[in-house]
Subunit: 368 residues, 2 copies
């Protein structure tokens, strides 16, 4: 069992903090930070900013230069061992002659996990693993899920009044939540790999479903320049080919993947001739490297996703309003006959966003 | 304008802290704390514990004894000037020859406000008013409201799933919220002057609607001995005389006021031959000295109270559950046609209670 010094904790914390600099841009790559120290002084540091650009270790090694020799490198994720768009980082660390590498966690991909560490050890470098592992995992929940299960991490965004209504009986709903909550939604969109919705929502709201830099919270704009904006791909379920080219969806920045007969991607159907959500998500992960799906849609899709146990996290905005139960509910009818059947969740975060409430909750699925 | 020293703030904070010792027992009296200092040392302190027992100033003066002469008294509320169950506190302070009195706020009763202060000043005592006034007001929102308006302060307790359902379509609802939330409800009940419900709720749940010491949170039990327990009066609206003597309501500790034709109190009806809620509340304040009503009932009463703008604060427990919109909603149908009609609230507190969420919110009523 590796033992770590206070200095080690401090440096890995710094590496984790650095890694967060990439949360809007690295998809589908993971967020990774690296700090290189010599004689307890930082001589190099960096993080992965964008897929296709250098990894965290490369930035840190460039900054350290010759000082990397005999140094200790702190990396939030096991250095890669394969030749991709960049040479393997393990090789870079070996060439730079670092003496020691501390990784917060192994690579979550079972096919390569441990290879980078072995490569380093075979070159005579001391390697320790597991420092602040939980914090490092929290940098990349979606990347880790896809690597381990082949499925994307799915966040379901919902907005309702305090009494659970998303619209009045006549459909009116603008605006249930405040401008701050809508800015907050932009921040979630910006972190996702894909924004998923249905043709119904796209048509009803003539929704762009992209990230508008001007609508991001100021705190994000401050360290995320407009010219660096990464648009998640917009995935629209359009089983009945209802989308038309005049919609804003087709006139705004950001790629699209239309899931429709004859659409951009295969329209996988289930026995009921509806889009097979699980198979579609798996295909999006496998063929399009999508780690993280942010869902904004209506009650029908929300209900299907919950019933099929495909939601990893619910992000529920509640406006401090009472609309009456003659409005439209969050999930429509669920047909429960017993309290033991209701869907239970664990609340993981609770905060106020402007005048509204934001609840993060993880469904606790029952065995099916 | 009075100016206060850091010592003054410190001592008044202490008096406010002391006053909180009475929050379960003083009703219908206000919570009041008092600290007496001489040469910046505390020589006496106390708080009002129970109606009919000594006021805060009396406790503090007894403790100070002869040291009260020339001392400064910090009181969270203007000392009373009238002979009630105890002699006026202003007289006590004069007799003890204190040199200075600092009050956090004047008496909220417009008929006596300022009299105690004048009595002290006429006796040559220096009086300052307004130190930590907002904090002192927060000790007694219900007492202040009744004194200023003649109406009680009304808290409406509700419990629902995250999607706003209080029960399944078939009426099943045990238990939506957790044991911790139910303990929390006991703490609210214990602070109220009256617990209000309807015969329908009492009969359906065979509800006791009293305070059960064993069910109070441990943190409250620790400084509120079981033998000191004060039971709020249970006010039950029973327009159709449906209550029967075999109900738990009649077999459990605590007084009752049945609002029914031929009941304990006058059954005031409106033009629709329903109980006139506003007139009933006013009568409860006036004839029964009830400052603070805690409402636990179903959607029908909740809807009427909200529509008649009688609720001062909503206390909403949300369980992390999804029940579907085919369940029973919090307020039933409200018939809104426009978003501008919906009831808006301000959230004043948000926290987790066990696995549940507790939201405190104040309705923002529109002019009617």
């Amino acid at each position: 069992m590796a033992t770590f010094t206070p200095q080690d904790y401090l440096m890995m914390s710094r590496a984790i903090k650095l890694a967060q600099g990439g949360i809007y841009t690295t998809a589908p790559n993971p967020n990774v930070g690296c700090v290189i120290t010599r004689d307890d002084q930082i001589v190099g540091e960096g993080f992965h900013y964008r897929a296709g650009e250098p990894h965290a270790e490369v930035h840190a090694l460039r900054m350290a230069g010759k000082l990397a020799e005999g140094a200790t490198a702190y990396v939030t994720l096991e250095p890669c061992s394969h030749y991709g768009r960049t040479p393997p980082c393990a090789e870079g660390l070996i060439k730079a002659k670092v003496a020691k590498v501390i990784c917060a966690m192994q690579d979550p991909n079972p096919q390569v996990s441990g290879r980078g560490i072995n490569m380093l050890r075979e070159a005579g470098i001391e390697v320790q693993v597991g420092l602040l592992e939980a914090d490092a995992q929290a940098l990349n929940p979606a990347f880790i899920k896809r690597m381990q299960t082949g499925m994307p991490f799915v966040q379901l965004k919902m907005a309702a009044s305090l009494d659970g209504q998303t619209a009045l009986a006549n459909g009116q709903s603008q605006w249930i939540t405040s401008a701050q909550a809508r800015q907050d939604v932009q921040a979630f969109r910006a972190q996702s790999g894909a924004i998923l919705s249905t043709s119904q929502t796209v048509i009803e709201d003539n929704a762009s479903l992209n990230v508008r830099w001007d609508d991001l919270p100021l705190s994000i704009q401050a360290h995320y320049p407009a010219e660096e904006l990464r648009q998640p791909v917009r995935v629209i379920l359009d089983r009945q080919n209802q989308l038309s080219a005049d919609l804003k969806l087709f006139q705004t920045a950001g790629d699209r993947l239309i899931v429709a007969p004859g659409g951009d991607v295969e329209c996988l159907l289930n026995d009921d001739q509806q889009i097979d959500l699980r198979a579609t998500f798996e295909m999006l992960a496998k063929q399009h490297n999508i780690n993280h799906i942010w869902v904004e849609a209506g009650a029908t899709l929300a209900r299907s996703l919950m019933q099929q146990q495909l939601v990893d996290e619910v992000v529920l905005y509640q406006a401090p309003k009472l609309m009456g139960s003659d409005g439209r509910g969050l999930f429509g009818a669920l047909g429960f006959q017993e309290m033991s059947q209701v869907i239970e969740l664990d609340i993981t975060e609770l905060k106020q966003v402007g005048r509204d409430i934001r609840i993060l909750a993880k469904p606790i699925y029952k065995e099916q």
